[in-house]
């Protein structure tokens, strides 16, 4: 893997730090007018999401990380792994619970997800920003209350729970923003 000298470091670059793949999220060049120059970088560890800061003497380098982001189709869950497929090569990539994390609640078969691979294996699975899912269960006891502002929890086909307006019925399809977990609107089929 290539290595990057301090003057090549920039936001978004994927590098190794302490044995983990990291994304550079901030780069700052510091130098007293008549003194030694340093480059300060903030690195987000792609495995733990923790951000650490490192200071490199000018001319030092960081090893590049074999990391790539692919748009993969979610196929199915076998109880242990979530399986994703490349739409052109048909290569499949299994990801376990630790990798899929909270994204699991939004994954619907056939949907396209952004999957980050490190050394060829998934380390991050991001659900699409918006998903359309069927309501499988909602509280019927509050029926008849038509106030627009009132909401009730609803369970969706993937198991996620979202607050929805009271007028929604079971079986309806809604659009959800997975970044906030919020109901966006009703989808007419």
């Amino acid at each position: 893997m290539a290595s990057y000298s301090t003057n090549e470091l920039k936001n978004g670059l994927k590098v190794m730090s302490d044995g983990d793949p990291c994304a550079i999220v901030d780069v700052e060049f510091v130098k007293p007018g008549k003194g030694q120059a340093f480059t300060r970088v903030k690195l987000r560890n792609l495995n733990t999401d923790r951000v650490v800061e490192r200071t490199l003497k000018s001319g030092e380098s960081l090893e590049g990380a074999d990391v790539m982001e692919l748009d993969l189709q979610y196929l199915y869950n076998d109880g242990e792994h979530w399986h994703f497929m490349h739409p052109e090569t048909f290569e499949q990539y299994p990801a376990d619970k630790a990798v899929v994390g909270d994204s699991a609640q939004w994954l619907k078969e056939q949907d396209t997800c952004t999957v980050t691979l490190y050394n060829g294996s998934p380390i991050i699975v991001e659900a699409p920003n918006h998903v359309t899912l069927k309501v499988t269960e909602t509280d019927p006891g509050l029926k008849g209350d038509t106030a627009q502002s009132r909401t009730t929890p609803a369970t969706l086909e993937t198991g996620a729970t979202v607050k929805v307006p009271l007028f929604l019925d079971e079986g309806e399809v809604i659009k959800v923003d997975t970044r906030t977990g919020e109901y966006v609107g009703r989808v007419k089929e």
Partner: protein, 323 residues
């Protein structure tokens, strides 16, 4: 990049920059400084290992773009110019970031016969005039600035103690393993700990630098036995941003040559090419440089402060990546 032809500074920032430059000129003109221009191309260069000049192919051999106008301005002083100033473009390789562009503007001015304290007071008044606001002013010695923010005595601490102070401040540093020279460790602390601690303090004048960071400043013998000699060098910080660097200028040609040679030795040791020293400057010192104080100020940074820009691009028409 389709938008790459566009300037990175907007019209109000360009106007604010013009106003800052006008106020700086007005201030110095009113005090009898003469505006001068000096060459930006020279067959000699400053061999300071911390400053890397751009080499240019000249008709009769290599030339260098000036990293500051200091040497020719001192030759003018030696020739009897009296107080002078210059708004000069300066060029330094490898310096690019939120506070650096490889091509930048320095205001450099010299006052023959001025005492350092009075010269610094005038420099503070100049910055206030250029800025158009009056921040609080604090004077600290280099030792006080270090003691307050990292708890070390920068004149006496060795590399190990400075490295420990960096660790205690939460710095994780790469490339300094086994570094036994305290200077780069001090520069690390200066940039990453001391400067950020000055961010809330308005204008801060830092004086009395360690002797090995004298650059082109005189040394002052210790006031008391057992105290370290210090360099008569001063820096001014504005909201934690290094704005200006000045000296009670070294006038001794023998000591100046010795420092140039030591600089070139350090360049060779670090794998950098040695640079041709400025024999014209040494001859001018030989002829007699009047006792003088001088200062160089980063004008782009002053404009950043005046406009609230957080990155130097915000005050430059075209930074190097669009030049």
């Amino acid at each position: 990049m389709a938008a790459g032809w566009r300037p990175t500074a907007d019209r109000p920032a360009l106007a604010a920059a013009a106003a800052v430059r006008r106020r700086l000129r007005d201030f110095l003109e009113a005090r009898g400084y003469l505006e001068v221009e000096t060459p930006q191309l020279s067959a000699a260069a400053n061999p300071d290992p911390a400053v890397e000049p751009f080499a240019v192919a000249g008709d009769a051999g290599p030339l260098w773009l000036a990293t500051s106008p200091e040497f020719p301005m001192k030759r003018l002083l030696a020739a009897g110019s009296g107080p002078i100033y210059q708004l000069a473009r300066a060029f330094r390789r490898e310096e690019q970031g939120r506070r650096h562009n490889p091509e930048f503007t320095l205001l450099e001015w010299y006052a023959p016969g001025a005492a350092p304290a009075a010269f610094i007071d005038e420099a503070v008044a100049l910055i206030v005039a250029g800025l158009g606001e009056e921040p609080a002013v604090t004077w600290l010695t280099y030792a006080e600035a270090f003691r307050q923010s990292c708890g070390v005595d920068p004149h006496r601490a060795d590399a190990g103690e400075l490295a420990e102070a960096a660790r205690a401040a939460g710095l994780t540093v790469t490339g300094m393993e086994g570094e036994s020279d305290p200077r780069p460790w001090r520069h690390l602390l200066q940039s990453c700990v001391v400067e950020p601690a000055l961010a809330e303090r308005g204008l801060v004048v830092v004086t009395d630098f360690p002797a090995d960071d004298a650059a082109l400043a005189r040394l002052r013998a210790p006031g008391r036995a057992g105290e370290p000699a210090v360099a008569e060098r001063f820096e001014i910080y504005l909201h934690g941003l290094e704005l200006a660097n000045g000296y009670h200028e070294l006038t001794d040609p023998v000591e100046q040559r010795r420092r140039f040679e030591a600089d070139n030795d350090r360049r060779r040791a670090a794998g950098q090419s040695p640079l041709p020293v400025d024999e014209h400057l040494l001859a001018a010192l030989e002829a007699g440089l009047p006792d003088a104080c001088g200062m160089a100020m980063g004008v782009d940074r002053l404009i950043m402060a005046a406009t609230g820009a957080t990155a130097i691009e915000g005050v430059l028409s075209f930074p190097l990546n669009r030049a």
